[in-house]
């Protein structure tokens, strides 16, 4: 697919129009000009044993439904945070404590597709409190608490089909924003798909996010039936606004590949959310019936619960004039990004040959002067030349996303020509370009969506790797590539593989997070309904067919470790509390033939529940799955199962351990 001719073009920096011939090329040939000397790159990304990385990078897991946490600049994978997919590794989404986080109006959903992590902000800067991420398939948002790297809250978004333009945070984490990628009948109803233009609508959602446990759909703006792709809130002067790309303004409902690529211009929707707040406050929103789940994990109970909500505030643009405008933007724009000053709104036309840059101040003047070319369903369309600040020429083909540095320059990912293009706001001219291997989607500069990015690295997230890593059958890893951007020219330093498919990613100075990590949960504060805070509180009880076992785990035994009185037909609930109160001493728990649940991984001070439904009489072992101590292999027990109807007295015991009298833990 790549050719020597192609690389000569890139190396010589000649006319990009020539690249059109390579429209569907997977990537450029390797060029040596962008590689640093073999002596420099290793030292820039080498994090010596015992030392730590400078940044945490949070990369969406894409179709894995999770978030991958990496250290930068080493590219080392530190953790996978389970969010929207069940994770058998630690029981997330299987055990009673975490399953409610996956609740929706459709029931429990075991999988989703995460795209865009967004770090919480205060005054336009990352503050290290939380990271949010979207579920694209069954529209939801999640909050991950960065003191523990665990999902603590999820909320479903009604009236939405594909929560793609989400969940970018506003300047003070007032809201996370969302937009429907697929317009759908709102409210849902059974209509002909061909009635798209008449029946299908879009929504833009603002979800209250500044208080943990209280995420709430503040309001939804009902939009024309287009596809809404990505969004970014304003910052600084444009704080109070948010910008969303749209495509398929053709309103095609079949063969979108062709039918939604006809218009020369689609729109960026500029939404004034402060105006929407005012309209809602003055009673201009309507409470539409809806059905959606809000799920919240209680830190002390170690248990998530679900609340179903039945109504959502909806605002029609015609009921709130001045709340939304359309900015014409070339060719099915994908990304929309706001620069650190808050003045420039940069679109990324998937099929465009320029990068359009809108000006916020020009937009405000145009609104003042009513420089509109028409309106669409009551939404004014501002004249392109009245809002455009400049067009970056020759950016390569298929510009998608932009991140920014601290020197007034932008880095645009360009998918079709597989490169990163650097250009600056002072003259909208391309100053550098480097190939990516291959087919870059999003890109990331640490702090790149804040008012003060760290102009140190840019990381490309690539969709295709082909020959870059050892081959692993038909499915290959996707990858990230780290480039140095501290100088005039970008320099490739490192390739590293990623989990799932990283779409967007964000990185934060490690100093903002690392020292506030929870090391263990305080046992004294554990209010789980089945907690056993010491071995003397353990026990077994029957409630109909359910047998509850309150169990404890501490190096290197379970209490109890012998359980009798269970019959076939019973459901056994092992409520295991980890009594340890020290850092890095999780215990695991698994029971043979556990067909309905995964294992448990129980953090110190935490309680987790394994549901175990025995099928056959016999005696079955259970054991600790996380190598906890020298006597880990001894950390085991048995549960005896009698045939159905044969009553054996419920009893439990643990061999006496005089070294640790029960009750003194």
């Amino acid at each position: 697919m790549s050719s020597p001719r192609r690389s000569r073009f890139v190396a010589a920096g000649t006319g990009v129009l020539a690249l059109i011939g390579y429209l569907f090329a997977c990537g450029p040939a390797k060029t040596s000009s962008s590689m640093v000397g073999a002596t420099d790159a290793p030292s820039r990304v080498y994090v010596a044993p015992g030392t730590q990385d400078e940044f945490y990078a949070f990369m969406s897991g894409g179709f894995s439904g999770q978030i991958g946490v990496y250290g930068l600049p080493s590219g080392r994978l530190l953790k996978v945070i389970p969010v929207f997919s069940q994770n058998a590794e630690n029981g997330y989404g299987y055990n009673a404590e975490t399953r409610p986080l996956l609740n929706t109006s459709f029931g429990e959903i075991p999988w989703d597709d995460t795209h865009h992590p967004s770090l919480s902000q205060t005054d336009g800067m990352h503050d290290g409190r939380w990271i949010f991420i979207n579920a694209n398939n069954t529209p939801r948002f999640a909050r991950i608490d960065l003191t523990r790297f665990e999902t603590t809250e999820t909320i479903e978004v009604p009236n939405t089909g594909g929560n793609h333009g989400a969940p970018f945070v506003t300047e003070n984490t007032e809201y996370v924003i969302g937009a429907t990628r697929f317009s759908v009948p709102i409210p849902q109803k059974d209509v002909a798909i061909t009635s798209f233009a008449e029946n299908f609508k879009g929504t833009i959602s603002f979800v209250r996010a500044d208080q943990p446990g209280k995420m709430d759909i503040a309001f939804q703006l009902l939009m024309p039936g287009f596809d809404y792709d990505l969004g970014r809130p304003g910052k600084g002067p444009s704080h109070g606004w948010a910008f969303f790309t749209s495509y398929n303004t053709e309103q095609a409902y079949t063969k979108l590949e062709v039918n939604a690529s006809k218009n020369d211009y689609d729109y960026i929707a500029a939404v004034n959310w402060k105006a929407l707040e005012a309209c809602k406050a003055s009673g201009k929103s309507k409470a539409w019936p809806a059905n959606y789940a809000h799920n919240h994990y209680d830190d002390n109970k170690h248990l998530a619960t679900t609340e179903m909500k039945k109504s959502v505030p909806v605002i029609l643009p015609t009921d709130c004039p001045g709340s939304v405008y359309f900015l014409p933007t070339p060719k099915s724009p994908h990304g929309v990004d706001v620069d650190p000053t808050g003045e420039y709104i940069v679109g990324g036309g998937k099929l465009a040959t320029v990068i359009p840059v809108h000006s916020f101040s020009k937009m405000m003047k145009a609104i003042e002067a009513k420089a509109f070319e028409k309106d669409v369903d009551g939404i004014p369309v501002i004249k392109y030349d009245q809002v455009m600040a400049g067009e970056v020429q020759n950016p390569g083909l298929g510009p998608l996303h932009n991140e920014f540095d601290d020197k007034g320059c932008a880095y645009t990912s360009v998918f079709i020509t597989s490169e990163i293009v650097k250009w600056c706001f002072k003259d909208f001219k391309v100053v550098d370009r480097v190939p990516t291997y291959y087919s870059i989607g999003h890109l990331l500069v640490p702090g790149g969506d804040t008012k003060k990015p760290y102009g140190k690295y840019v990381i490309a997230m690539n969709k295709i790797t082909k020959d870059r890593f050892l081959a692993t059958g038909p499915e290959l890893t996707q990858s990230a590539q780290l480039y140095d951007i501290s100088g005039e020219k970008m320099k490739l330093l490192l390739d590293f593989p990623t989990i799932g498919e990283p779409h967007y990613a964000q990185a934060i100075d490690a100093k903002l997070i690392k020292d506030k990590q929870v090391k263990f949960f305080k046992l004294a504060e554990n209010t789980h309904p089945y907690v056993a805070k010491s071995e003397s509180e353990t026990g077994i009880s029957r409630s109909g067919k359910n047998v509850h076992i309150k169990m404890t785990a501490i190096r290197s035994h379970f209490a109890p470790d012998m359980v009798e009185g269970v019959q076939v037909g019973d459901t056994v609930l092992f409520h295991v509390t980890n009594l340890e109160q020290d850092w890095d001493v999780p215990h695991g728990f698994a029971a043979m033939g556990s067909w309905s649940d995964a294992e448990l991984l129980i953090m110190p001070g935490q309680t987790r529940t394994l549901k175990w439904v025995p099928k056959y009489p016999g005696v079955y072992p259970f054991y600790c799955t996380d190598f906890c101590s020298a006597l880990h292999q001894e950390m085991q027990g048995y549960v005896r199962v009698a045939p159905s109807g044969r009553a054996v007295a419920l009893q439990t015991s643990t061999k006496a351990r005089p070294a640790i009298p029960a009750g003194e833990q």
Partner: protein, 208 residues
């Protein structure tokens, strides 16, 4: 009759003893590669605590592998007596300063030295007991001939841990109190023992 300076030294000595109520007296730390954040306990006049909130429980949990008794502060009677003993000692120093009674001052210093020695011997006995009287029936790790007595003072390798035992701030305060007590006696040593130094007398008179 004690001079002003000697009395000042005794008051300071009593004050240092007072500090022992708010500062840990002794510190035993356990160092091993798996504990980069450290692990240890502090002995106070009236209790034993972990250096970090859960250290004592974690040490007890580790000790169960070798069959060592749990360290339970409530079961150590010395922790009930020590606040009283130190109070009496501080009272002696204060009384000596107040009454200018040299004999009382001497009694204070002798008692302090005596009780410090007894205290260290007692500490050694407890360490010996914890280190040797192991529950071998239920011990998980049994190494013939191995005992786990931590050092009285200094460092010692115990299996994978380097156990270190050193006075803590309160212990140094006690040592300072002793030095000040001896200094008080030395300042007002018998006049025949030295010659040609009379400066203290007017000061003493001025204080009176």
């Amino acid at each position: 009759m004690l001079s002003f300076r000697a009395r000042l030294a005794l008051v300071a000595s009593a004050a240092l003893l007072g500090l022992m109520y708010v500062l840990p007296v002794w510190r035993v730390t356990l160092a091993a590669p798996q504990y980069p954040e450290g692990l240890g306990m502090q002995i106070w006049l009236n209790t034993i605590t972990g250096i970090k909130p859960n250290d004592l429980d974690n040490i007890n949990n580790l000790n169960h592998y070798i069959g060592m008794k749990r360290i339970v502060p409530e079961s150590i009677p010395e922790l009930r007596w020590m606040p009283v003993i130190v109070g009496v000692l501080a009272g002696l120093a204060a009384a000596a300063a107040l009454t200018r009674n040299r004999k009382l001052a001497t009694l204070f210093v002798v008692a302090l030295v005596g009780l410090a020695v007894i205290g260290l011997v007692d500490f050694y006995r407890w360490e010996y007991d914890y280190g040797h009287n192991l529950d071998l029936e239920n011990a998980i790790i049994k190494i013939p001939g191995m005992s786990y007595q931590p050092p009285l003072i200094g460092s010692k390798q115990l299996l994978n841990f380097t156990a270190s035992s050193w006075p803590a701030a309160g212990g140094f305060a006690a040592f300072g109190a002793l030095v000040l007590g001896i200094l008080a006696l030395w300042i007002d040593r018998a006049p025949g023992a030295r010659t040609g130094h009379r400066v203290r007398v007017p000061l003493s008179a001025a204080a009176a």
